[in-house]
């Protein structure tokens, strides 16, 4: 255990503004060696900016950064790295064409004839393998990074950061693409890093997760520190109140929906090797949860239903009509919606306006004759801005500048505008702050109450338990259990999702 009295990192009275907007105001942050500091706050609270100042990406307008009580000034990211500060960004930043080992040691490759810069490939792979084994990550160091799953890429990223880190390691939503099992491994690793005396700053929206590893807590709201203290000093409700600036009585609001006729029936759907023999149905007014570890085939199933990746065999009935093997355009016309897992890659047109993004799946409704009428578009966008409380509230704003929660609400609005009646929601609240989550949950409930059928893929088990009527569990491409959400538990779901046949 390192000397935990000396603080590894101190940020004092950090102030930063962009184009006249104060993003951070007099923020003090202290992280001690050998502890995990949880940094929470809604999207836009200033967490990322604060961490980018620490990483040397941005320079503060005023305030200072001290490492081991010595004042430092970073002008570029390399300075922060040299001072022993490593970051794991939310957006993955691996070079897809390089191998895992090459990525881990990028810029620090072991050399053989150092003068000519010949890389000792054997040593490189050996060292990478040792590291990965030590952390119990089952990843082949020779594999190309681009071929790894999102979860494995995240683990490689973490490994790389650990190699770089000497005093502070910052993890920004490190678990967003990890399965429960991998999260366990990561926490094991974090405990190990604590023992090595590193200070860990851990940013997350998942409070349940933080309670497992956090030692201290700092809450930001609108660029200011609103709470700092030991973890456990205040309870979850108080944390949420601090973050949102108001009480969120129930994150998961109640739903009074009447479950009606079958809207979507999937029969024996297969696309080997991703999934096989998947059958289920979703009724009007019902929320069906789809649980499982990453790679269990949940995303592939909903993508096949929607038609972006046609299934090999099987039937998909929408309102009694078979729609298997028809393209997404057909699904959309028939009232099927897919809110995708990766909104930047498959959801948003980032450099177009919010209004254009909202209306994209139903441009037809904007037409009068040949012309697309901007006025109809703007009015439609305004309606959803109001209904879903989207901010900023101007329909012409470029959507790339919105926070994750508001982007997600806009995408949900896209499917509302397309008059969808069956919603496939793949990780609908990933990277979304607490307040926006509550609004998305409320909208899902409204949809169910109005007779829509909802299939919700989520890795967030409390979310599934709070929202779903039934929970289907997938493991290795097969449906292995159907559970009543009122009667089951996280433990039971996990048992089916993770454990081979008992």
């Amino acid at each position: 255990m390192a000397d935990s009295n000396s603080s590894a990192l101190e940020m004092r009275r950090i102030t930063k503004s962009f184009a006249g907007n104060t993003v951070l105001a007099d923020v003090d942050l202290t992280a001690h060696g050998g502890e995990v500091l949880a940094l929470v706050g809604e999207n836009g609270a200033g967490k990322s900016t604060l961490m980018k100042i620490l990483a040397g990406v941005h320079r503060p307008d005023s305030g200072e950064v001290l490492i081991d009580s010595r004042k430092v000034r970073f002008t570029r990211p390399a300075d922060a790295l040299a001072a022993g500060i490593a970051m794991i960004y939310q957006e993955l930043s691996l070079a897809p064409h390089l191998s895992v080992a090459e990525n881990i040691f990028l810029g620090r490759e072991p050399l053989k004839f150092s003068r000519i810069g010949y890389i000792d490939r054997r040593k490189l792979n050996e060292r990478a393998k040792n590291l990965l084994d030590q952390y119990r990550f089952k990843i082949n160091p020779r594999e190309r990074a681009g071929r790894l799953s999102a979860a494995d890429r995240q683990l490689v990223e973490i490994t790389r950061a650990i190699v770089e880190a000497k005093s502070v390691i910052v993890m920004d939503e490190p678990t967003s693409s990890l399965t429960t099992h991998e999260v366990g491994e990561l926490f094991q690793l974090i405990r190990h890093l604590k023992e090595r005396g590193l200070a860990i700053i851990y940013i997350s929206h998942r409070l349940e997760e933080l309670s497992e590893i956090a030692d201290r807590l700092i809450i930001l709201r609108d660029g200011r520190v609103v709470f700092t203290g030991a973890w456990g000093e205040i309870d979850t409700n108080q944390i949420i109140r601090h973050m949102a600036g108001r009480e969120l009585k129930e994150i998961f609001p109640r739903r009074n929906s009447r479950i009606g006729e079958v809207k979507l029936r999937v029969n024996n759907l297969s696309r080997p090797p991703k999934f096989e023999g998947v059958s289920f149905e979703a009724r009007a007014g019902e929320v069906v949860g789809l649980a499982g570890l990453a790679g269990a085939g949940r995303t592939e199933v909903v993508e096949s239903i929607f038609g972006v990746q046609p299934p090999k065999t099987g039937e998909i009935e929408l309102d009694g009509r078979n729609i298997a093997f028809s393209p997404p355009s057909w699904s959309v016309l028939n009232g099927l919606a897919l809110l995708t897992e990766d909104r930047k890659r498959t959801g948003l047109c980032l450099n177009l306006s919010m209004a254009t993004n909202i209306t994209l799946a139903n441009v037809h409704a904007l037409k009068r004759g040949w012309r697309v009428r901007r006025k109809i578009e703007t009015n439609a966008a305004r309606r959803y801005i109001q209904q879903l409380n989207i901010k900023p509230s101007s329909p012409g704003q470029i959507i790339g500048r919105f926070s994750g929660g508001n982007q997600q609400k806009s995408l949900l609005a896209r499917w509302l505008f397309a008059h969808s009646r069956v919603f496939l929601l793949d990780e609908p609240t990933r990277g979304v702050d607490v307040a926006a989550r509550a609004e998305i949950y409320r909208e899902i409930n409204d949809l169910a109450e109005s007779g829509a059928a909802i299939v919700m893929v989520s890795s967030d088990l409390p979310e599934l338990l709070g929202m779903a009527d039934r929970i289907l569990v997938m493991r290795r491409g097969k449906l292995v259990a159907e559970l009543n959400a009122r009667e089951t538990s996280q433990e039971e779901i996990l048992k089916y999702a993770a454990v081979e046949d008992q």
């Binding site: 836009g44 967490k47 699904s331 897919l338 959801g347 994209l360 040949w370 697309v372 790339g400």
Partner: protein, 323 residues
């Protein structure tokens, strides 16, 4: 820098150039400025018409995230086909129609190949560039197709009121139509969406292949029209016609604010881009600057335009990462 400056920069450059050239003519050469005479302006319009027409279609393809390097070869191939049909007795108008159809067919092939083979458009059309040029040379045996009827010359030469070229009217009509398509129809809306994020467009239920092919067909048809105009201009079918046009066409789009990575570009910008290049060439001739130097200047302008666009993009990128 503000967004409006980016949008207006090509326009401002054009105005400045148009003011600078007569001033230089007067001060350096001591001549009466010829640049702004109706005759010279009509000449610029005629000279830039072919590139502008093709650049309209290229704007559409590039906004949607594609590119077509074979447009110059399509000019040659369609011109030869049109000219041959005329030497076999077809009237001039029918010959020009054949140019248009041949161009559209070539565009259809380009679009179908990129979407079904799922190979980058850059590579597919690089290959197509060789194929169409080779076809043009093969069917004409490498020789100019001669013996066209006199009426074949009308398309390029006809004027209204003595000085308004027919070509200028054609350019204007096409510009208005393409502008309308891009700014206020479903086709244009999808064009920007696909260029911004092709996957997102597909996941939103847009039949992306169908639309992509359509954009290539329109560009092909406009290149065929350009082939007809070049045929009319020389009253021969030249298998080498249009060589190098692809670069000028793409340059016009880029100088006008179009992005090589898709999602950005406009008809008005492209027209100005094409005019800037036309005015540079015309002004260079008036000022007796070597045509070799002119090529260096135009090349530099292209690099500058892309650099400027890139800086803008990075600024937006930075904004995006500030949360």
């Amino acid at each position: 820098m503000q967004d409006w400056i980016k949008r207006l920069l090509p326009f401002i450059s054009l105005i400045v150039l148009s003011a600078l050239i007569p001033v230089c003519e007067y001060t350096i050469l001591g001549n009466d400025p010829k640049f702004l005479t109706p005759g010279n302006l009509a000449a610029i319009a005629r000279q830039t018409a072919v590139i502008t027409i093709m650049a309209m279609g290229m704007t559409m393809v590039m906004v949607s995230g594609g590119i077509d390097l074979s447009v110059g070869s399509i000019v040659g191939l369609s011109g030869v086909l049109g000219a041959m049909s005329m030497t076999h007795g077809a009237p001039a108008l029918a010959g020009f129609l054949i140019c248009l159809l041949a161009g559209a067919a070539a565009g259809l092939l380009n679009g179908a190949a990129t979407t079904t083979l799922k190979i980058p458009a850059f590579i597919v059309t690089l290959g197509a560039m060789g194929i169409y040029r080779g076809l043009a040379l093969y069917i004409s045996d490498g020789n100019a197709v001669v013996g066209l009827p006199e009426s074949a010359g009308y398309l390029a030469e006809m004027n209204f009121f003595g000085f308004v070229p027919l070509l200028l009217l054609i350019v204007l009509v096409i510009a208005v139509v393409v502008h309308f398509l891009l700014s206020s129809t479903q086709l244009g809306r999808y064009c920007y969406a696909m260029g911004s994020n092709l996957e997102a467009a597909r996941y939103a239920g847009i039949s992306v292949s169908r639309y992509q092919i359509l954009y290539y067909i329109i560009l092909g048809a406009l290149s065929g029209l350009a082939g007809a105009i070049d045929t009319s201009r020389t009253v021969t079918g030249q298998p080498n016609a249009g060589e190098g046009y692809e670069l000028n066409v793409i340059a016009a789009v880029v100088i006008g604010g179009g992005s090589l990575s898709g999602g950005q570009g406009s008809v008005i910008g492209t027209i100005i881009g094409s005019l800037i290049m036309g005015v540079l060439a015309n002004g260079g001739n008036l000022l007796q600057i070597s045509p070799f130097i002119q090529r260096i200047v135009i090349g530099s302008v292209i690099v500058l335009a892309v650099t400027f666009d890139e800086f803008q993009r990075r600024r937006v990128e930075r904004l995006r990462t500030q949360t």
